[in-house]
Amino acid sequence: MSTENVAAPGFGSDTGDRGRRFLRSLMSTGTIFVLLLILWVWITILNPTFAEPGPFLAYLKRSAPLVILAAGAYFVLVSGNFDLSVGSLVTVIVVVAARLIDGDPSNTWPVIILLLLIGVVVGFVNGFISTVLRVPSFITTLGMLLILNGAVFLWTGGAPRGALADNFRSIGRQGINGIPWIEQLPWSVILLFVIGGASVLLMRSDFGRQLIATGDNERAARLSGVRVDRVRIMAFVLSGTLAAVAGILLAGFGGVSAQVGQGLEFDAITACVLGGVVLGGGRGSVVAAMAGALTLEALFTWLNLQGISGALEDTVQGVIIIAAVSFASYRLRGAR
């Protein structure tokens, strides 16, 4: 392992280093921000209204669920694990919400609390099985994906039933009205910033450092006194909860749909990887992961404006992912 460990664990080192370390981490993951900026500029050239507050907020609103999912995926990835179940968890959230609310607005808030609880529980189970039962997280979350998909449609008999109430959907669709200049500040954008800020603070805390240490070198972390299992379980809980939040936003935005969660786990992992997070753990910043998500959405917007038919979107996404990761490992090598 390189001694130039960019996000080095904090125990033992003096705090004066922190400023420099932060700067270095920003620079190593800086490429994603540059790319994001380039895409934004390019999109504005193609469609000048993009730079206006209304359309730009619409873009942020559309990206919010993925950004939040990327943050959740980040916590799990950086600690050395995978969470393949977030996509089906989102589907569960959407379908359960529709069934329980059943069009009655008074059900909304109790159901939301239940949904978040579901996210916590699923995350905890994932974490428990992957740590205490020693099942590789790839398999655990793969199994959980099957279980969640099966269970939710077992319950509803094959396709979503019920309906979402308007006040529930307003979280994903509406916002605070009457704000000067931008007219409406969508709730999802507010949530995006709140969660983003909280994640950054979390990573700066002891927990954050322990998380990275666990992913970087489990043995060393354990010997240094880090409760590795607990930290990992916590990461899964965060992933599950954030998936629930994303599900609530998606349900609001798109309505009830059975396919809403399909493939989201891969999108979230892609976003993280674009942002410089290394699969296997120990490296990357949560801000960069979220920027990766914004970049992915910007990429889709850009493709749309270029008139590239929906099909080639996949190919472009594939090429870019490979290029991004290959570039990242090239740089990793170069840093030695």
Partner: protein
Amino acid sequence: MTVVDPPEQSAGSRAASRSERVAGWRVGVLASPAAPVYGALIGIFILSWIVVTIKGGEFLTVPNIVNMLQRSVALGIVAVGQTVVILLGSLDLSVAQLISLASLLTATTMDGKEANVVPAIALVLALGVGVGLVNGLIITKLRVNAFIATLGTALVISGFIQNRWDGPAQGVTNSFSQDLGYTRFGVIPLSFFLLAVIVVVVWFILRNTRFGYRIYAVGGSEDVSKLSGLRTHRAIIAGHVLCSLTAVITGLFLASRLGAGTPTVGTDGGYDLESIAAVVLGGTALTGGRGGVIGTIGGVFILAVLDNTFNQLELNAFLKDVVRGIIIIAAVAVYARRQEKKA
């Protein structure tokens, strides 16, 4: 999976490392937990037999057994390839899309003409080699993690399919479709023999050739293998080529079953995650170096029996998903426990 460059080697150390390699291979083989899988298979089989018969269904009849065998073929072939790749400590998420592409290419190239059957097969096999090479090269030379590399390839193929084909592709000749898809020798489908041949060939390669040693060694510990002078890059690339070959063969088979190629046949069957599940059920460790194709086939049969039983009992297909998920996790938990006890 990180990839390290092999350093130069001296003759003496090469001899020493050879015995090391053989030892490594032996550990891999002896630790192969094929036994518990088949134990579980027999258990599930008997349980299903009892349950189905009680409900008035027919389990141990010839048509039913043949149905189960038929259902195992597609997944079985691709799972064999996935086994090789996982033994190497790698992964292949692109198989589902590749299967769809292979089926489409088969149909389009055959174009309904008998004369085109052989060229179509050749072209599809070449596709398999090509994609496997690309996967292997991206992983070794570009140093991209297998998860991302094969995910990326899957997306590239997916985009290509959607761009070129809008729906099912006609063109599979009736003879090809009947021959591979529906012919039977007595009661056993011809396709099952295809599966058996592939299993035997790959098993032989893994157990009795130097290439097989290399695969177990690289999967066991790539760094150690590197230091022992093994050409790890070649092994990884070859392993991925083998996996992609099995994927396109599955595509050929499915094209014959459906009488057409379709853009979704690979993803419909979930062959990417299902093949990984079958491999893991069969006792091969996800980290590599341990396991084998015999175990994998046991895993495939377990899934086929489950499928069949659920159909017979007319149980909800979604319940089947739940049960499958639980079984996969439980199986791996048990294997992990055994590993711990051994270590």
